[in-house]
C-alpha cells in the first residue's frame, strides 16, 4: 500500500503550474485587484483602530476625571498645628451632628 503523506504544516508547498493557472483565472474572472483590496483592508483596519483609540481615550479621561475631581477640599489655610485631617473631621462632625 502506498499511502500519500499529508503535507507538513510548517513547510510551504510549491505552487504547481496548474494552481497558478487556476488563481490567474479566478483573479481575471472576479476582477480582483489585489493591491487595491490590500489598501482597502488596511484603511478599514486603520479606521477601526482610530475608533478604538478614541473610545479608549475618552473612557480613560472620563473615568480618571470622576476619580480625581472629588477631593474633600480645594485648599486649607490654617494657623493651628493640627493637620488637615483634623480640620476636615471637625467640619464633618459639625455638619453631621447638628441638633
Amino acid at each position: 500500500m502506498n499511502h500519500r503523506q499529508p503535507p507538513s504544516p510548517t513547510k510551504l508547498q510549491p505552487i504547481t503550474p496548474e494552481a497558478m493557472v487556476h488563481i490567474s483565472d479566478l483573479v481575471e474572472r472576479d476582477n480582483i485587484d489585489l493591491p487595491q483590496r490590500c489598501a482597502r483592508y488596511r484603511r478599514r483596519a486603520s479606521i477601526r483602530r482610530t475608533a478604538l483609540a478614541v473610545c479608549f481615550f475618552f473612557g480613560c479621561c472620563i473615568s480618571y476625571t470622576s476619580i480625581i475631581s472629588a477631593p474633600l477640599y480645594d485648599q486649607i489655610t490654617t494657623s493651628s498645628d493640627a493637620g488637615n485631617q483634623h480640620i476636615c473631621e471637625a467640619i464633618r462632625l459639625s455638619i453631621e451632628n447638628v441638633s
Binding site: R42, R49, A53, F57, C60, C61, Y64, T65, I68, S69, A70, P71, L72, Y73, D74, Q75, I76, T77, T78, S79, S80, D81, A82, I87, C88, A90, I91, L93, S94, I95, E96, N97, V98, S99
Partner: protein
Amino acid sequence: MKYRKDILRFWFVFCVILVLALGAITVACRWHRIFPSDEVSDIYSKYSEREDIDASYVKKFRVNDTVVVDVTLLEAKDTNVWEELCKDFNIASIYDFPVDFRESLTASNSYSIRVIMKDSTYINGRVDYRRNVIIYSYHKMSMCIFHNISDSQFDAILIKATNDISD
C-alpha cells in the same frame, strides 16, 4: 514591515497623548493645591494671629457630590476665649442656660446652628437667599462658619445633618 511600524507608532503617539491629557486633568483638578492662593475669609484674617485660637479656612469643602462651601473653623483653646468668641458671634453663653440644660448642650455630639441672613438675589425669577451659617459646639469649644451660602448649599448641609437622625 512598514505597516507594522506604522501601527506601533500610532499606539506610541496615542499613549503619549493619553499621558499628557491625564496630566492636564490632574493639574486642572488640583490647581488650588498645586498653586495655593492667598484668598482667606475676613473672619480667618481677624483670628489667625491669635495664639489662643486655632483658625482655619477651608476653600471649597465638599458637603456632597455636587455642593461645595467655604468654611472657617475657629477652635478656642480655653473657656474664657470661647466665651469671648460666643460674644463676638452673638451666641448665648453656656452660663446663660439653666444648669439642667447645660448638660445636654455640652454633650460630646451636640452641635447647635445659628443662621445669619445676609442678602437675597433674584435668580431665574426666584429669590436666592444668601446667609452665613454658624455651627458651634460648647463641648468642643469650636465653631464652623459657612460663608455666604445659597439655598441649595444650605439644603445640602441640612440634609446631611438630618441623615443621621433619619438613620
